[in-house]
Amino acid sequence: MALLIDVARNSSIRRVAPRAFRTSTWNLIGGAALLLLGVLCIVTSAVAVDESPQVLEQRVKAAFLFKFGGYVEWPDSAFPSKDTPLVIGVAGADVLAEELSQVVAGRTMNGRPVSVRRVRGGEPLSSVHVLFVGRPEMGRLTDLAAQARPILTVTDTEKGLALGSIINFVVADNRVRFEVSLDAAKRSGLRIGAPLLSVAMRVQE
C-alpha cells in the first residue's frame, strides 16, 4: 500500500543529500540526442515548404476517387479497347491530384491501367472517365452536365449535386462521406453499383 508506505517514510527522520547534476556516459548520449533533435529542427526549418494542412482529408478523397471506378459502369464507347486506361481527371485541385498520383501508382482497376490527368481550363475532356472538379473550376460543371458526357463528375462543395455533379464529398463528424445523384448519373449514361450506393451518406433519386 503505497500511500501508507509514503506516510511512514515521511515520519522517518532522514537528512537529504544536496542534489547535483550528475555526469555520465548516458548524460552525454542524452544530450547528444537532444542536440541532434535541435539540429534537425534548424535544418528542417530552413527547407520548410508550404503544404496543405489538410493532407489527410485530400488523401482520403483521392483514395475514394480511385475506388469509385470499381463501382461504376460506363457505356462501352468510353473504353474503346480492353486495355484502354481508366483516366481520372482533376481540375482545380492540385494537392488532390498530387495525392491521387501516389494512390494509383502501380495499380490497376478491373485489369485496366489507371492514369491521373490534371485538367486545365479549356482542355478537352475526351477519354476522361472520372473528373474531380475543385471549387475554382465549378463553372465547368453546368457545361458538362448539359453535354451529358459519360464522365463521373465528383465535387466537394455544398451545392455540388445541385450544380449537376454525380458524387459530392461531404465532411461530417470528421469523416469524409459522399452523396450521390442517381438522376445526374442516368443523364450521363452511367450506372452506379449498389455497393457504392449502400455506403453513400445520401442518395438523391
Binding site: 503505497a2 526549418s45 527547407v47 483521392a62 501508382a105 465532411v171
Partner: protein
C-alpha cells in the same frame, strides 16, 4: 486551448496514400480527418506542450496496460513501483502518492480525493478501443481546474460506430497473461454500441534483496459504450465495472472494485455555437488487507458552452459541480478523521481566444473560479499567446497560475487513531501554488517531419511539509517552496513510407527548499524523486510479408533520493498480420537487462524482470 485535439501527422503515417487504396469504401468513410473540424485544433495549432499517443502507437508498442502505454509519451515520468503500482508524473514531483497530475478517461476524472492522485491499479480501458491519449505537460488549470498543476492525461476511446464487429485477444508471457473481447453493432437508425470484457493476471515481482514481493494481482473488467447521432450533435452513454484482488506479502489480500456510468450530450447550436453537458457517477471500493478501507462515491456534472464566433472573439464558458461521499474504515495505526467525509466542489470558467491578427496571432485569456471544501474560493487564471508565422510553424508562450487544493490526506490524516497523536492532520493546510511560465516552438516543415520544443519555469509556493509542533506531534503544513526549470522536446521523422523514427525527452532542474521557520526533519525529499533527464528513441518499421518491427530504447537518469540507478530499457515488438482479421505479436521487454528497479527504497524495492509476451488477436 480547446479540449479536443487531434494528430493528423500521426495519421498521415499510418494512412499513406499507398495503403489507403487497399481500404474498402466503408473503411475510408470511417477515417477520422479531424484536422478539418472547426472545434478541434490541429496538434500544431495548440499553444501547449502536448504529446498525442495514437491508437497505432499503442498497438505497435505492445503495451498491455494503460500505465505501460503512457511510457510512449516523452513528457511523462512513468516508473513501475511493483507488480500493480506505478509512480507517474509530468515535470517532476514523482511519487507513488503523486498529486499534481490530472487523469481523465473520456471526460471522467479518475483521481481520488483521498490524496489527489491516482491509484494506477484501478483505471483501465479496452486498449484496442482507445482512439488516442493526449498527454499535456504543464498546467491546464483554467479548463480542467485544480490538480492539473503539472499535467493532464486525457484518455479518449473511439466512438462506438468506429468499433463495430468483434475483436478478441489472448496473450501470455512470463510476467503476465490476459484475454479480452469486444463486440460492437448498430443500435436503431442512428446509434451504435459496443460491449467489452477483459481479464488479466500479473505475477509477483522480486525484490532487490532476492525475496518475493508477494504482489501478484488479477483484475477483471466489463464495460460498454453507446453513441447516438454524431460527435458534434449526439448523445453518449458509457460505463464500466471491475473487480480485482492484489496479493500482499504478509497481510490479507487487498480488494478493489467499482463501477461508473457516464452520459454526455453534445449539441451544435444554431448560428455556430456548441453546447456540451456531461454527468457521471463513479463508485470505488478499496479494502486494503490489514489496513484501512475506502468506499467512495462521486457524482459529477459539467457543462461547456462555446459561443459563436463574435468578430475577433471565440468565447467558451462553463461550469461544474462535483460531490464526493468518502467513507473510511480506519485502523488503530492510521486514521482519517472524521472517518466519513462529504465533500463538494463548484467551479465556473470562461476563456476568450482573441484573433489579434487573423490566424497569425492569437491571445487566449481565461480564468477559473473554484470553490473547494477546505480553502473556499480559489482563482486560476492563465494567458497564452500563439504566433503562427507560417501554417507549419507555431511559437507560443503562456503564463498560468495553478493550484493543488487540499486533499483528505493533507487535512485529515492522523496516526495513531486516538490521542496522543504522532501525526495530527494538517489543520491549517492551504493550497499549493504554482506560477508557470512556458515558451514553445512547434513545426511540421513537411508532412514527414514534425517536432516540438518547450522550455518551462515553475515557481512553487506553499508545498507540503511535515512540521513538528514541539510537543512530539507532527502536522502537515506548507513550508516548502522552490523553482523548477526544464526543457522537453520530441520529434518524428517518417524516413520512408514504411519507417518512422521518433525521439523525445526532457531535462529538469529542481531547486526546492524549506522556508524559514520550517523544522521539517525529512527535508525536501518527500516532494518527489525525479531524474535530471530522460530520453526515448523509437523506430517503427514495416517489413515485407505483413510484418512490423518496433523497437524502443528508453533511458532514465539516476533518481537522487532514494537513489535509483540510471537504467536503459529496450523493448521490442514483432507483429505479423497475414490477414486483416488476424494478428500475432511477440513482445520483448527489457531485452538487454535481466532486471532493474525503477522506484523505491534500496533492498526492499521491486525489480522489473525481462519480459516475454505473445498475443493473438482476431477480428470477426
Amino acid at each position: 486551448m480547446i479540449v479536443a485535439l487531434s494528430a493528423p501527422e500521426a495519421y498521415a503515417a499510418e494512412s499513406s496514400p499507398e495503403n489507403l487504396a487497399d481500404l474498402s469504401l466503408e473503411e475510408l468513410g470511417n477515417i477520422d480527418v479531424m484536422s478539418v473540424s472547426k472545434k478541434s485544433e490541429r496538434l500544431l495549432d495548440a499553444p501547449a506542450s502536448i504529446f498525442v499517443i495514437t491508437a497505432e502507437d499503442i498497438r505497435r508498442s505492445g503495451a498491455t496496460s494503460l500505465p505501460e502505454a503512457l511510457r510512449i509519451a516523452p513528457n511523462l515520468e512513468v516508473n513501475r513501483v511493483n507488480s500493480s503500482s506505478y509512480a507517474i508524473s509530468a515535470r517532476g514531483f514523482n511519487n507513488s502518492i503523486g498529486n499534481k497530475l490530472l487523469v481523465l478517461i473520456d471526460g471522467r476524472a479518475v483521481y481520488t480525493p483521498l490524496f489527489s492522485g491516482v491509484f494506477w491499479d484501478t483505471p483501465d480501458v479496452f486498449l484496442q478501443d482507445v482512439e488516442r491519449i493526449e498527454v499535456i505537460s504543464g498546467p491546464g488549470a483554467t479548463l480542467w481546474g485544480t490538480n492539473a498543476v503539472n499535467g493532464v492525461i486525457n484518455v479518449i476511446t473511439r466512438r462506438a460506430a468506429d468499433t463495430q464487429g468483434a475483436t478478441a485477444f489472448v496473450g501470455s508471457g512470463n510476467l503476465e497473461g490476459g484475454f479480452g473481447a469486444r463486440y460492437g453493432a448498430r443500435l436503431g437508425t442512428d446509434g451504435s454500441f459496443r460491449i467489452y470484457g477483459k481479464s488479466f493476471d500479473r505475477g509477483d515481482t522480486t525484490r532487490e534483496n532476492g525475496t518475493t514481493a508477494g504482489d501478484s494481482w488479477s483484475k477483471g473488467q466489463v464495460g460498454f459504450r453507446a453513441d447516438w447521432g454524431a460527435a458534434a450533435n449526439g448523445f453518449t452513454l458509457q460505463g464500466d465495472t471491475y473487480t480485482g484482488t492484489l496479493d500482499q506479502p504478509i497481510a490479507a489480500d487487498t480488494n478493489i472494485s467499482g463501477g461508473n456510468l457516464l452520459a454526455r450530450w453534445d449539441r451544435d447550436l444554431p448560428g455556430g455555437g456548441h453546447f456540451q453537458l456531461q454527468g457521471y457517477f463513479d463508485n470505488t471500493v478499496r479494502e486494503i488487507g490489514g489496513s484501512i478501507a475506502e468506499h467512495l462515491n462521486i457524482a459529477d456534472v459539467q457543462f461547456q458552452h462555446s459561443l459563436q464566433q463574435m468578430g475577433r472573439h471565440a468565447i467558451i464558458w462553463g461550469g461544474g459541480y462535483r460531490a464526493a461521499r468518502d467513507r473510511i474504515d480506519n485502523t488503530a495505526v492510521i486514521a482519517f478523521l472524521p472517518a466519513d467525509s462529504n465533500l463538494d466542489w463548484v467551479d465556473l470558467f470562461a476563456q476568450d481566444e482573441i484573433a489579434l491578427i487573423g490566424d497569425k496571432l492569437k491571445l487566449t485569456g481565461g480564468a477559473k473560479i473554484e470553490r473547494n471544501p477546505y480553502t473556499g474560493v480559489e482563482f486560476l487564471p492563465s494567458v497564452r499567446l500563439a504566433w503562427k508565422p507560417t501554417p507549419q510553424q507555431l511559437v507560443w508562450s503562456a503564463y498560468s497560475r495553478a493550484l493543488r487544493t487540499p486533499s483528505r490526506l493533507d487535512r485529515e490524516l492522523f496516526s495513531p487513531a486516538n490521542p496522543p497523536f504522532v501525526l495530527a492532520g494538517g489543520p491549517d493546510f492551504r493550497s499549493e501554488v504554482a506560477d508557470v511560465y512556458e515558451l514553445g516552438y512547434k513545426a511540421q516543415p513537411t508532412s514527414r517531419i514534425s517536432y516540438s520544443v518547450t522550455v518551462f519555469h515553475h515557481i512553487y509556493d506553499h508545498l507540503r511539509s511535515f512540521e513538528p509542533t514541539g510537543t512530539g506531534t507532527f502536522v502537515l503544513s506548507n513550508k516548502m517552496e522552490g523553482t523548477e526549470t526544464g526543457i522537453e522536446a520530441w520529434g518524428t521523422v517518417q524516413m520512408t513510407p514504411g519507417w518512422r523514427l521518433s525521439a523525445g525527452g526532457f531535462m529538469l532542474h529542481q531547486e526546492l527548499r524549506l522556508k524559514p521557520g520550517s523544522t521539517d526533519p525529512t527535508g525536501v525529499s518527500a516532494a518527489g524523486n525525479d531524474p535530471d533527464y530522460q530520453w526515448i528513441l523509437r523506430s517503427s518499421l514495416d517489413l515485407p510479408g505483413h510484418t512490423t518491427l518496433d523497437v524502443s530504447i528508453r533511458h532514465v537518469a539516476e533518481l537522487p533520493n532514494p537513489v535509483v540507478p540510471a537504467y536503459t530499457a529496450t523493448d521490442m515488438r514483432l507483429g505479423w498480420q497475414p490477414r486483416r482479421d488476424f494478428e500475432l505479436s511477440l513482445i520483448l521487454q527489457n531485452l538487454f537487462d535481466p532486471e532493474h528497479p525503477e522506484f523505491g527504497t534500496p533492498g526492499t524495492r521491486s525489480e522489473l524482470d525481462r519480459g516475454v509476451y505473445a498475443q493473438i488477436l482476431w477480428r470477426f
